[in-house]
C-alpha cells in the first residue's frame, strides 16, 4: 500500500541532509546552510509537537510557545551552574520533557470540554500566563536577564571540542528529528494514533465506538507539550541562554501554527516542509537579502522598509493568507483532507 515514490525520495533526501555539513566543509567558507539548519530543525521539532495536538487530534493550540518556555526554563534551572542542580545535558532535557508533559496535562484538564475557537483562546491565554509568571518570579528566572550560561550537548561529561560544535549540534538535532518523525509515523499508523484521528473526526461518534476521548485528549496534550518543551530546551541550550521570557511570545506560537498550516495540517512531512520554508525564509533568504541590501548601500536609517529582516511578519502573514485562499489543505495535504 505504501506509495513507491515515497520510498524513492525519502532516503535520497536523508542522504543529502546527512552529507550537507561535509559538502559545505569541503567547499570551504562559511557553512551558512549548516548553521541555518539548526533553528530550522529546532522549530521543526516544536512544529511536530503542534502537529500531534492540532494536526492529529484536532485541538487548536495557540500557546505552544508557552510550552517551549517551560522547557527552556526547566532545562536552564536544572543545568545552569548558578544553581546547585547541574543535571547535565541529558538530565536537563529529560526534566524539561517531564515538566512539559505535566504542564500539558495541567492545561488539558480545565479545557477538556472546549473545542475550536474557545480552546484557541484559552491556550492563547496560557501562553501569556507562562510569560508573565516567568517574568514575575524574577528570583528564580533572573527576569529579563535570563539564565545563562547553559551547557551545550554532552554525554557523561564529555562534550565535543569547539571546532566540532556546529557538527555536533547539526547531527544531534537531526537524530532527534528523525526519531520524532519515525515515532510520529508509527503513532499515526498505530491503534492509538487512529483513536486520536477518530476523536478529531467526530468526538461523539468516537466515544460511542468505545474510545475514551478524555484520555485521548490528555495524552495528546501531554505528548505535544513534551515535544514542544524538548524543542524549547534545545533552543535554550543552543543559544546558551533562556533569553528573556518575552522571547517565547505569541508571535512564536503563531509562527509555529503557520509552519503547520502552510505545510499541511495533519501531515508530519508538511510540518517539516513548513519549518524549512518559514524558518528558512527567515534565517537564510532574509539574511542573504539583508547583506545584499547592505552591499547596495541601503541602511536602516534610510527607511525601515528597506531592511529585509523587517519583512519577516509581512511575509508570514502573506504566506498564510495565500495558503488559506488557494490551498487550504496545505502544501502537503494529509490523507483524506483533499
Amino acid at each position: 500500500m505504501a506509495p513507491k515514490r515515497k520510498l524513492f525520495w525519502a532516503p535520497l533526501l536523508l542522504l543529502i541532509v546527512l552529507a550537507l555539513p561535509w559538502i559545505e566543509r569541503a567547499l570551504g567558507g562559511e557553512p551558512a546552510l549548516t548553521m541555518a539548519a539548526r533553528p530550522i530543525m529546532i522549530f521543526a521539532i516544536v512544529s511536530i509537537g503542534l502537529h500531534l495536538v492540532t494536526g492529529l487530534t484536532g485541538l487548536l493550540n495557540l500557546g505552544i510557545a508557552g510550552f517551549m518556555a517551560i522547557g527552556a526554563y526547566s532545562y536552564a534551572i536544572v543545568t545552569a551552574d548558578i544553581y546547585p542542580f547541574q543535571f547535565g545535558f541529558i538530565g536537563g532535557i529529560l526534566v524539561a520533557v517531564f515538566f512539559g508533559a505535566l504542564a500539558g496535562i495541567a492545561l488539558g484538564i480545565p479545557t477538556l470540554h472546549l473545542r475550536g475557537d474557545y480552546l484557541a483562546v484559552v491556550t492563547l491565554g496560557f501562553g501569556e500566563i507562562v510569560q508573565d509568571t516567568l517574568r514575575n518570579i524574577e528570583v528564580i528566572t533572573k527576569g529579563s536577564q535570563g539564565i545563562n550560561p547553559l551547557p551545550g550537548p554532552s554525554i557523561l561529561g564529555f562534550s565535543a571540542p569547539q571546532s566540532w560544535a556546529l557538527m555536533t549540534w547539526y547531527y544531534l538535532l537531526l537524530v532527534i528529528l528523525v526519531i520524532l518523525v519515525v515515532a510520529c509515523i508509527a503513532l499515526g499508523r498505530s491503534k492509538r494514533g487512529l483513536r486520536w484521528r477518530a476523536v478529531r473526526a467526530d468526538q461523539l461518534a468516537s466515544e460511542c465506538m468505545g474510545i475514551d476521548a478524555t484520555t485521548v485528549k490528555l495524552q495528546a496534550f501531554a505528548c505535544s507539550a513534551a515535544v514542544a518543551s524538548l524543542g524549547g530546551a534545545l533552543w535554550a541550550s543552543y543559544l546558551g541562554s533562556t533569553g528573556e521570557p518575552g522571547n517565547f511570545d505569541f508571535q512564536i506560537s503563531v509562527m509555529i501554527l503557520c509552519i503547520v498550516i502552510v505545510g499541511g495540517l495533519g501531515n508530519i512531512y508538511g510540518a517539516l516542509l513548513g519549518a524549512v520554508l518559514m524558518v528558512g525564509m527567515n534565517s537564510v533568504v532574509l539574511v542573504k537579502l539583508a547583506s545584499f541590501a547592505a552591499d547596495l548601500g541601503f541602511t536602516a536609517s534610510d527607511s525601515v522598509f528597506l531592511v529585509p529582516s523587517n519583512w519577516k511578519y509581512l511575509l508570514f502573514g502573506l504566506t498564510l493568507i495565500l495558503i488559506t485562499r488557494y490551498r487550504p489543505q496545505g502544501l502537503l495535504p494529509a490523507q483524506g483532507a483533499e
Binding site: I137, K191, R197, S206, G210, I211
Partner: protein
C-alpha cells in the same frame, strides 16, 4: 429467553421539557425490536440514554444484568485523594516561592561548591513552619483545585459513552457520523477491540459487502454504503446489543431491502437489535416486537400485527378524529 436490556422508568428532561417520561422497556436476547413513533416522540432521546450519551434524569437501565449507572471504585478514590494531596503540597510551595527559593537554594549555594541537600530541605521546612497562618489558604486552595479537577476528569471518563462498549452495546446515528478522513478499513480498525485480527476485519467488511473499498476514504462512499459502513463499525466493537437509529433513512426500496437482509444476518450472528425506524414496510416485515412511543411515553408494545390494530397507536399517528371514522381493520399506513 433471557433479558439483555431492561430499562426501568427512564426519564429525560431538558429544562421544562419532558422528552421521555418513565419509559420501561425490556429486550430479550436474539430479538429484533423496533421503536417507532411520530417525530418528537422521544425515541432518539431514549436511544441517547441507552447508548450512554445522556445521563437519564430518572430511572435506570441494566445491560445483561450490568448497570448503566457508573460505580465509584476504591482505586478512583485513592487516585483523587492522591492528586488532591499533591496539589495541596504544591500550593504550600507556591505560597511564597521566591523567598523559599532565596533561603533554600540561593543563600545556601556557593558558586561551584558542593551543595548540601539535607540543609536545603531543613531550611525549606523551617521556612514553611515559620510562615504565618495564611499558608493554610494556598494549601486549602491547592487541595480543593486538585481534588475537584481530579473528580471532574474522573466523572467525565466514567460517564462518557465509551463505557457502553464495555457493556457490549454499540450504536449507529440518525445523521451519519463516520470518521470521514479515515479509510473504510481504518474506520473498522479504530472501533474494533484488540482481539479482532486483520482477516476478521475483512470478514466483517465482506459481511456488509464493502471489502473491495477497504482503502478508500469513508467520505468517498455513496450514502447507502456509508450507512452499511456505520453498521460494520458498530459490529467491530463486538456488541451483543446493537442500537440502530433510523438505518433506512434516505434509502431507496432496493437499498432498504438489502438492509433488511443485513439486519436479519446480524441477528443470525447472535446479536440483538433494537432499532428506530420510520419505514413501516421495513419495521412490519423485520421486527419481532414493536414498541410505540408518543409524546415521551411508551403507549403500546407487541407484535407488528397487534400494534397495527392498537387504537392508541392509530390515534398517535393519525389523530383521534380519524380513528373514530375508520373501521377496526384499517392499518396506520
Amino acid at each position: 429467553m433471557s433479558i439483555i436490556l431492561s430499562a426501568q422508568d427512564i426519564g429525560v428532561r431538558f429544562g421544562g421539557l419532558h422528552a421521555v417520561q418513565s419509559v420501561s422497556l425490556t429486550v430479550n436476547k436474539g430479538e429484533i425490536v423496533a421503536l417507532i413513533g411520530p417525530n418528537g416522540a422521544g425515541k432518539t432521546s431514549l436511544f441517547n440514554v441507552l447508548s450512554g450519551v445522556y445521563a437519564p434524569s430518572s430511572g435506570a437501565a441494566d445491560f445483561d444484568s450490568r448497570p448503566l449507572a457508573p460505580r465509584i471504585t476504591a482505586r478512583a478514590w485513592l487516585t483523587i485523594s492522591g492528586v488532591a494531596i499533591f496539589a495541596g503540597l504544591l500550593g504550600a510551595l507556591l505560597y511564597n516561592l521566591q523567598q523559599l527559593w532565596q533561603v533554600g537554594i540561593i543563600d545556601l549555594y556557593r558558586y561551584r561548591e558542593p551543595f548540601s541537600w539535607s540543609a536545603a530541605i531543613q531550611t525549606a521546612w523551617g521556612f514553611l513552619k515559620s510562615a504565618d497562618s495564611y499558608l493554610a489558604l494556598p494549601i486549602l486552595l491547592g487541595t480543593l483545585l486538585g481534588g475537584l479537577g481530579a473528580v471532574a476528569v474522573w466523572q467525565r471518563i466514567i460517564s462518557a459513552p465509551h463505557r457502553m462498549i464495555a457493556l457490549n452495546c454499540a450504536r449507529t446515528f440518525q445523521n451519519l457520523r463516520l470518521f470521514n478522513e479515515l479509510t473504510v478499513l481504518e474506520n473498522i480498525s479504530v472501533a474494533s477491540s484488540e482481539a479482532i485480527s486483520g482477516p476478521k476485519k475483512f470478514e466483517l467488511l465482506k459481511f456488509v459487502s464493502l471489502d473491495h473499498l477497504a482503502n478508500s476514504p469513508a467520505s468517498s462512499l455513496p450514502y447507502g454504503l456509508q450507512r452499511r459502513l456505520e453498521i460494520a463499525r458498530a459490529l467491530a466493537t463486538e456488541p451483543t446489543l446493537l442500537l440502530l437509529d433510523e438505518p433506512a433513512a434516505g434509502m431507496n426500496p432496493t437499498e432498504s431491502d438489502a438492509l433488511m437482509q443485513l439486519i436479519l444476518d446480524i441477528r443470525d450472528r447472535g446479536i440483538t437489535v433494537l432499532l428506530i425506524e420510520h419505514d413501516m414496510r421495513l419495521v412490519m416485515r423485520l421486527a419481532d416486537r414493536v414498541c410505540v412511543m408518543s409524546s415521551g411515553e411508551l403507549i403500546a408494545q407487541g407484535t407488528p400485527s397487534e400494534v397495527q390494530r392498537d387504537p392508541k397507536v392509530l390515534e398517535a399517528y393519525l389523530g383521534a378524529e380519524h380513528v373514530v371514522h375508520t373501521s377496526s381493520g384499517d392499518r396506520p399506513r
